[in-house]
Each structure stands twice: as structure tokens, then as C-alpha cells.
């Protein structure tokens, strides 16, 4: 455009700018007229209306807390609901002398320093006309005593509010988690408006993980109040919307069978449907009553639970990390076949110990006199350690580590709960990062029988065997089957997600190990043959024993003399029916001794309950 090259013409340009300036002035007049028009509407037209509102600001806004969503098991059994409970509440702006009121209330009702501290904290963040709870869960006689004297206390109220309740008490506590009162830490994380009337929040487990589903939507009430702040009438209200209901994959009766099967032992059970990753039972023993936590547990009770040597508060199923012991052997066996480091019929002579070339140290078999000549099937059936020392030596740690990784070792399963740990899947890099040391051949050997650095959670254990049972497809295990959206009450199914898939090189490699695992239960020399009496279906399994402490080179491990605390953990992993797996179970009994005697019977009871009833 040659025209643009021409010299500036100040006259034309100044005319242009002036035109635009005038235009701006017109815009300004128009826009400011709009503002004035708006002010005219507010100050003249609607003056009466706003004047009324302002007069004494009579209209108060009250937050109505939503009712928490319910939790059901897979068959509709109620696992968590809400019950009315009486609360002593105080409206700050209606109380003239707060300290003396609090003092006088002590005559009628007890409250702890903890209650008082919490009350004072809420006082700071709530508006002065909101009612703040001082004591929750009043007993009937306390309600009666207070009600008679309530007229003497301006601004003190007794209100019935729905409170979380776990109708089955301690049952399934580690699967559910629990709610507790909102504390300073929670405050940073929640939306102040949504939680304006809410006093409780999910603290652990499902209750925490699905807080956003369970909580619901806050309601609002506009009320007219008199000069003293007493509510005269409700002007209008938008009611709160109840939180969404959860339908679990957990089978409450199965869970109960598992809990009862444990007796007084500590440990964990996880049962999974291997075809979709649904967790059928998730048990950590011992259990405790979550209702204690809902309204603030007393220090004494809490300390008791915390300091109990059985550690009931510890969720072993997700956070407990154990050496998997011999339950790893089917995986190594499969790894051996797939990589051709092991041949199906090749035999190893087991003399009760194994020695690395050029090393004096003896790696002992659990059976002192040895198993004699064993092939892979025998080695799995009888759980021969020497065979797997040798196999591990040939496989090498890199291959072992990556193969276990295919089945979910060393990574979180991504379960929909809180507190999950990922165990340890040792490898050369891991060890360098861990203590800066190189990997030693001897460590490969003990990893070969599931000891050493290797650690898994019971959930990982169950999920790995579930993946094995369906020939390598590993699902992301989950506890919630569907979310029931309120108020439409339509259920949204939680889809099963495949977390990983191991592609078998040869199907018959898998068949071979699978048959050996059936042999563990049904074979004449199987380590878990003790549970096969009267079995109406086929079970594939593997026992395991996890050493808690190391026995010196030439000492004997004697179950009788070892303190219970230091006794080995008993493990059992299994799936059934073997040819069409419907359930995969992992059991760990802490300090239970051997897997065959203690852990396997628990698994059998669970599988019986699931498959037969």
C-alpha cells in the first residue's frame, strides 16, 4: 500500500483523534447513565425493600447441613447410616456473658476441655448468629436436665442433628474408614461455604476418599429474627441435598466370615473378584468400633487403642507391608518357564541347603534333610527353597524384579481408599538409592524365596494372585461398585479398569504352574493339602511363611521356644474354582507360624462362604 508511506498529515490525524475523543465522551455519558439508572433503581424504586432489609438486618441466613450419603454392601446391607443425636449448641451473639454461661452450664452437663477448645475454635470462624456445638451426643438424662433449665440461658439450644452411625460397629471398619469432627487441618481443605453447617468429615478410608460424593450440598434458610435474635419464622428455604449413597463391592457376610475366622489373631485378608477387580472382603484384624471416633473419642480410650500391641487402628490390608515369602514361587516358576531359564521336567537335587559357587555360606531350605530330587511342579507343591535359590541364581534380580512388577509388586494398586502403601520391589537401582550399596548375589537368592527386601501389602498380594489366576490381566481393585446419585437415585456404576496386562509367551507355561498350584491343595504332598477335605470345588493356592527375624547360620528355628511376637507370619494365596476363578484370596496371619496350618484354613472358609452359600 504505497499510500501508507505518505507523510503524516497532522490536520487529518488530529481530526481523527478528536472524533474518537468525542465518541469516547459519548460512551462515557451513556455508561455512567446506566450506573446512575441502576442507582436510581436501587435507591429510589426499590428503596423501601432495601430499607426493610437494612432496618435491623432482621433477615438471618442459616446454613442447613446436608445429610451424609449412606453406604451399603454389595447386597444392600447398611454399613453406614445417620442417627439423630442431641447436641448442646450456643449462638454467640445472643449470649451476653459467654464465660459465665459456660461456667453455669457445667452444673447441668459435663464437657471436657477438649470440647471447650473446639467450641472456641469454631467460634472464631462462624458468624455470630450461627449456632456452634459445645457438646455432642447428649445422654437422655442430660437432655432432660438441661431442657428444664433452658429458659435461664439465652442463646443456648438443644438441637437434634443427624450424626454418622455405623450400625454394625467394628464390622468392616478398615474397609469403611470413619468420619470425625472437622478440625483445623480439615478446614484448610474444605470449601467454607459448602461446609458452613457441617460438623463432621471423612477422616479415613472410603469415608475420606469419597468425601465429595458423600457430603451433599448445603441448604440455606432465610429466617426472620426478633431483637434478641430468636427465630420468629422461616421466610424461605432451599433445603440441603443429601450426599450420594455408595454401594460397595464388599460382601458384608463374607467380610464377617473372614473376621470371625481370625479369632484373636492379627492379620489381614483381601478377597478380590479376579474378573473385574471388585474387592469382596477387605479385613484387617483386630478391628475396632468406629462409632467411638464420630463424636470425639476420649483420650483414655484413644490411648488404649493406640498403644495396644495388636495395633487395631493400623489398617494392615492397605498399609501393612510384609515379606511375601513362598507365595512368590509360582511367579518365579512362571518367569523361569517363560524365559526358558527353567525347564518343566528338569530336576534339582535338594540336600537341604544351597551354596553359591565360591561361597561358604549355606542358604537353608525349610526342610533340614532336603526334598531330594525335585522338578518345578514338586518345588511348588512342596515349597522347596533350594530349587528356587537355584532358579533365582539363574534368573538374576533384574528379570525377577521386572516379572514381579508385571503383577503389581512395588506399585500402588490405586484402590479407592486412603493410606495405601506400595511395598518394596527391590532391584539394583532401588538398592543403590536405598543405601548406596551394590546388589549382592546372595540377596538374589533370598529374594528368590520372597524374603530379603521384598515387601507387599495384603492388597497387592491378593491383586497379584488375582491377576495370575486370569492369566495376567490385572485390574485396579476397587471398593465401590456404584454411586447412587441423590436426588435422582440413579446408580452410576464404577467401571472396572485394567491396570496392567502380562502377555504370556506360551499358554502352557501358565497351565503348568497353575496345575502345580492345584497340587499344593489337592496333591498328596501339597503343603496345603490339610484344607482339601470335603472341598466341593478345585482350589489353586500357595502357602508362604514370612520370617520375622533371622535364624543364625547353624541354629534351629523352633516354633515352641520363639516368642509369639517374633514368630513367623503365615501366608496363603489362592483362587477358586481353579478352572474358572471367581474369587482370589490372600491371607496373612501375623506371627501365625506356618501358612499351611493357620492361613490356608481361613482362606478355605472364605471361599466356601462365597462359592457355596
Amino acid at each position: 500500500m504505497p499510500k501508507r508511506e505518505q507523510l503524516q498529515d497532522d490536520y487529518l490525524e488530529s481530526r481523527l483523534i478528536r472524533r474518537r475523543l468525542v465518541l469516547s465522551a459519548i460512551f462515557i455519558v451513556i455508561l455512567l447513565s446506566l450506573v446512575l439508572g441502576r442507582l436510581y433503581v436501587l435507591q429510589i424504586v426499590e428503596h423501601e425493600h432495601f430499607s426493610t432489609l437494612s432496618d435491623s438486618n432482621r433477615v438471618r441466613i442459616k446454613a442447613l447441613p446436608p445429610t451424609r450419603g449412606l453406604i451399603f454392601d454389595r447386597h444392600g446391607v447398611v454399613m453406614a447410616d445417620n442417627l439423630p443425636a442431641y447436641r448442646l449448641e450456643i449462638v454467640r451473639e445472643q449470649v451476653e456473658d459467654l464465660d459465665s454461661t459456660l461456667q453455669q452450664l457445667r452444673q447441668y452437663v459435663e464437657y471436657s476441655d477438649q470440647d471447650l477448645k473446639r467450641f472456641k475454635q469454631s467460634l472464631k470462624r462462624r458468624r455470630p448468629f450461627e449456632s456452634i456445638p459445645l457438646r455432642l451426643n447428649l445422654k437422655d438424662e442430660e437432655v432432660a436436665r438441661l431442657a428444664v433449665n433452658l429458659h435461664r440461658f439465652e442463646g443456648v439450644e438443644i438441637n437434634a442433628r443427624l450424626t454418622r452411625n455405623y450400625p454394625q460397629g467394628s464390622h468392616a471398619v478398615h474397609a469403611l474408614g470413619y468420619v470425625g469432627r472437622i478440625d483445623e487441618r480439615d478446614l484448610g481443605e474444605v470449601d467454607g461455604v459448602e461446609y458452613a453447617g457441617t460438623t463432621h468429615i471423612g477422616k479415613l478410608g472410603l469415608e475420606k476418599f469419597y468425601e465429595h460424593e458423600l457430603h451433599g450440598t448445603v441448604g440455606v434458610q432465610h429466617v426472620e429474627v426478633n431483637a434478641n435474635g430468636r427465630t420468629l419464622r422461616v421466610l424461605n428455604e432451599s433445603p440441603p441435598v443429601q450426599g450420594n449413597n455408595l454401594h460397595l463391592t464388599i460382601d458384608s457376610s463374607l467380610q464377617k466370615v473372614a473376621e470371625e475366622a481370625f479369632g484373636n489373631s492379627s492379620g489381614a485378608v483381601v478377597a478380590i473378584d479376579p474378573n473385574n477387580g471388585e474387592i469382596l472382603a477387605l479385613v484387617s484384624m483386630p478391628i475396632f468400633n468406629p462409632n467411638l471416633f464420630v463424636n470425639g473419642i476420649s483420650f483414655i480410650k484413644y490411648n488404649e487403642l493406640r498403644d495396644s500391641h495388636q495395633r487395631p487402628l493400623f489398617n494392615r490390608a492397605l498399609s501393612g507391608q510384609y515379606p511375601p515369602g513362598s507365595t512368590t514361587k509360582p511367579f518365579y516358576g512362571l518367569a523361569g518357564l517363560e524365559s526358558a531359564f527353567a525347564k518343566k521336567e528338569e530336576e534339582i537335587h535338594c540336600v537341604g541347603y544351597y551354596k553359591l559357587p565360591n561361597e561358604e555360606r549355606r542358604y537353608r531350605d525349610w526342610k533340614k534333610q532336603g526334598h531330594g530330587p525335585v522338578n518345578l511342579t514338586d518345588a511348588i507343591t512342596q515349597s522347596c527353597d533350594v530349587y528356587f535359590y537355584d532358579l533365582a541364581f539363574r534368573l538374576g534380580i533384574d528379570l525377577m524384579s521386572s516379572f514381579l512388577g508385571e503383577f503389581g509388586y512395588g506399585i500402588e494398586t490405586g484402590v479407592d481408599s486412603t493410606g495405601e502403601r506400595k511395598g518394596i520391589l527391590p532391584s539394583r537401582e532401588w538398592k543403590r538409592g536405598h543405601d548406596g550399596m551394590p546388589w549382592f548375589p546372595g540377596e538374589t537368592l533370598i529374594t528368590g524365596i520372597g524374603q530379603g527386601y521384598l515387601l507387599v501389602t495384603p492388597l497387592q498380594l491378593a491383586n497379584s494372585i488375582a491377576a495370575f489366576s486370569v492369566r495376567g490381566t490385572r485390574y485396579q481393585p476397587h471398593l465401590v461398585k456404584s454411586v447412587e446419585k441423590v436426588p435422582e437415585y440413579n446408580r452410576i456404576e464404577i467401571a472396572s479398569r485394567v491396570a496392567g496386562r502380562y502377555e504370556l509367551k506360551r499358554e502352557h507355561n501358565w497351565e503348568h504352574v497353575h496345575k502345580a498350584m492345584i497340587n499344593v491343595v489337592h496333591g498328596l504332598r501339597g503343603t496345603a493339602r490339610g484344607i482339601n477335605q470335603g472341598l466341593q470345588y478345585k482350589v489353586a493356592g500357595k502357602t508362604g511363611t514370612a520370617q520375622v527375624f533371622e535364624v543364625a547360620q547353624d541354629e534351629e528355628y523352633d516354633e515352641e521356644t520363639v516368642l509369639e511376637k517374633l514368630r513367623d507370619h503365615a501366608l496363603f494365596v489362592s483362587y477358586a474354582p481353579a478352572d474358572d476363578p471367581q474369587i482370589a484370596v490372600a491371607v496373612i496371619v501375623e506371627n501365625g507360624g506356618s501358612g499351611s496350618a493357620v492361613a490356608a484354613p481361613i482362606a478355605r472358609r472364605i471361599m466356601d462362604a462365597y462359592l457355596l452359600e
Binding site: Q8, V35, R38, N57
Partner: protein, 373 residues
């Protein structure tokens, strides 16, 4: 007209003002407004003298800067604009990494002896650099000039918006835009830009806005949807203004204001206090004072002898209008809540200083004309 006035006035004040190159009309309007504002602030702060004294100190300090700015020759303004701009952008980047956080946003830079918001500098620097760039070119501006200027404006605006400080971003962005508008960007270009922006609006809504900003816009459309949270501001503000009526409840007598119902009542929401205590009548007077200031600025722009002065004085005056419009619009519940103060009245030093320097520069533009003729 001014020369005519000059010749037959001999008063001392006049001579002093001339020597200091100040515009008596603009100066007196600004001072009246600032003093009037301090009075409102006294009421809004709950009769806190300390607050008012601090504000008066700021006004005096800012007026001194105004005088200084009025004495910078135009040539110099053009020269420093690039450096001011670069320094401002550099500090915005520094804020991103070293800035101090206040009220959830990272806006402040602490240089040890002084703590300030670099974004304020850009309110001056952006229109200055765009005006400098465009003033020497043939008007109306062509495509190349438009693109370069848009980049000059967009860089600081985006940096400020992500602090996040939507209010200041709007002010800086509109200051830059006004220079272009005055420089005669063609209507069809502006319309297509407008269409483009509104097409992009859903994307901006999704990606560029923070949660709280989305909430504020949603709240504007239906304040009753969230009466406990962000709607509370607007509801209480409307009650305050509406209950003021024709003549207001009287100075220091606003119940909404005095009883703490209005949040941020000495800063962004000070107009609600004003509306409650001085009523519709007071509001008209106040807005007329503002209009007088803006029109005086536009008048000076129109009478400037060179494009740079026309563009810069015009852009400053129009930005001042944006302050007023956004703030009153927000307080009256017409616009979403963004942090834009009521100019020269809201409590706080930073915007006061930049506004006054801006007026100083307008005065410098005014006197440039006479010294050149």
C-alpha cells in the same frame, strides 16, 4: 482560551501554578475529590482518625509526585517510556518468582526499603509505550502497528492476570486499548476482535479464570445462589446503597456500614458506604465530579498539538473512567466483583500514587502545547 485567561490574571496563585506547569481546573477537582474521599473514609473506617491521617499523608505524597510528573518534558516521557515498560515487565516476572503473597495472590515485590505492586507501574507504562510507538506513524494505524501494540499490551496483562489480579489486568489492558482506539483502529478491526474474543470466551472461562473468579461471575448473575459466600458482598452492598434512598442516612449514620455488614468497606466497597450515607443525590454529585475530571482530561487531549500528547492524555482519562465504571458497577451489582478501587477515594496508597502521576503527565501534556507555540 487559556492564553486569554493567562494574560489578564495576575494573581499569585495563578503564577505559582503556571511556574509549576499545573492545570488549575484539573488540580482543584482532584484535590476536592481526594478530600471528599477522606471524609467518606473516616466514616467507612468506623471513625478511625489514624486511617484518615495515613490517607491524607498519601494524598500529599501523591500530589508531590503529580507536580514532579507535570514538570517532565514530553520528550523525556517518550524517552523513558520504553525503560519504564521494560523495568515494569521485568519486575512482574520477578514477582512471579520472588513475589510476596497477599490475599491469595502473588502481587507484591519487596525491595527491602519499599514494598509495592509492579503491576501499578504498567498502568502508566503500557499506554506510554503504545503512544510513543504509534505517535510517529501515519494514522489510522495499520495492521503491523496493531499487532506490535497488541503484543506490548498483552504481555503485561497476561502476567498480571495470572497473579491473579483481574482488576489491574483489566485496567492495564484497557489503558493500552484506548491508545489504539484513539489512534483510529478501524471499526471493522475492532468488531472482528470483539467477535473473536466473545468466541473465545468459553475457553477463557474454562482455562484462564480461577475458580473464585468463575464463582464471582456466577454470583453476579444470581447473587442469591450463594448468600453465605461470595454473594454476601453483593447482597449487603445492595442493601446499603438501596437503603440510602434519595438523600442518604447522613454522614457517619449508615447502619450497614457502621455495623460491619459491608465487607472491604474502606477499600473496594467504599462506594456502598457513600451510597448509604449520601443517597442518590450524593451519588449524582460524586459522579459529576468524576465526569468533570474525565472531561477535562479529554479536553486537554483534544487540544494537545502532537499525537503523542493526544493519545496519552486521552488514554489516561479514559482509564480513569474505567476505574469509576468498574468499581461503581461492581458495588451496585451490575458487574462481577473484581478488585478495582474507587479512584482517589478507596483506602490504599498504590493506586493513589499512579493516578496522581497520571494526572501530572496529563498536565505536562497540557503545558507542552504552550511552550511549543
Amino acid at each position: 482560551m487559556n492564553q486569554a485567561l493567562d494574560s489578564d490574571t495576575t494573581s499569585i496563585t495563578r503564577r505559582v501554578l503556571d511556574a509549576l506547569r499545573l492545570d488549575p481546573v484539573l488540580l482543584s477537582l482532584v484535590i476536592v475529590l481526594a478530600l471528599f474521599g477522606s471524609m467518606v473514609l473516616y466514616s467507612a473506617s468506623g471513625s478511625d482518625q489514624a486511617v484518615v491521617i495515613r490517607q491524607l499523608t498519601r494524598i500529599i505524597f501523591a500530589l508531590l509526585l503529580l507536580v514532579a510528573a507535570a514538570n517532565i518534558p514530553l520528550r523525556m516521557i517518550r524517552k523513558i517510556s520504553i525503560w519504564l515498560y521494560l523495568a515494569g515487565v521485568a519486575m512482574l516476572i520477578a514477582v512471579m518468582f520472588y513475589g510476596e503473597v497477599g490475599k491469595g495472590a502473588q502481587r507484591w515485590l519487596n525491595l527491602g526499603f519499599i514494598r509495592f505492586q509492579p503491576s501499578e507501574i504498567l498502568k502508566l507504562a503500557v499506554p506510554m509505550i503504545v503512544a510513543t510507538y504509534i505517535a510517529n506513524r501515519v494514522l489510522p494505524v495499520g495492521l503491523k502497528e496493531l499487532v506490535v501494540s497488541s503484543v506490548l499490551v498483552a504481555v503485561p496483562v497476561l502476567l498480571i492476570a495470572r497473579q491473579p489480579d483481574l482488576g489491574t489486568a483489566i485496567l492495564v489492558g484497557s489503558a493500552g486499548f484506548f491508545v489504539l482506539f484513539l489512534a483510529g483502529v478501524r471499526w471493522r478491526v475492532m468488531i472482528s476482535l470483539g467477535v473473536l474474543l466473545s468466541l473465545m470466551a468459553p475457553l477463557l472461562w474454562k482455562f484462564a479464570l480461577h475458580d473464585y473468579q468463575r464463582k464471582r461471575i456466577a454470583t453476579l448473575l444470581d447473587p442469591e445462589s450463594d448468600p453465605l459466600g461470595s454473594g454476601y458482598h453483593i447482597i449487603q452492598s445492595k442493601i446499603a446503597i438501596g437503603s440510602g434512598g434519595v438523600y442518604g442516612k447522613g454522614w457517619l449514620n449508615g447502619t450497614q456500614s457502621q455495623l460491619d455488614f459491608i465487607p472491604e468497606r474502606s477499600t473496594d466497597f467504599i462506594f456502598s458506604v457513600f451510597g448509604e450515607e449520601f443517597g442518590f443525590f450524593g451519588s449524582i454529585v460524586l459522579i459529576l465530579i468524576y465526569v468533570a475530571i474525565i472531561f477535562r482530561g479529554l479536553y486537554i487531549a483534544a487540544n494537545s498539538t502532537e499525537n503523542f500528547g493526544r493519545l496519552l492524555a486521552g488514554a489516561f482519562s479514559l482509564t480513569f473512567f474505567v476505574y469509576l465504571f468498574v468499581n461503581t458497577g461492581m458495588v451496585a451489582g451490575m458487574l462481577p466483583v473484581v478488585g478495582v478501587p474507587l479512584p482517589l477515594i478507596s483506602y490504599g496508597g498504590t493506586s493513589m500514587v499512579t493516578l496522581m502521576i497520571g494526572f501530572g503527565l496529563i498536565m505536562s501534556i497540557r503545558s507542552a502545547k504552550r511552550f511549543m507555540v
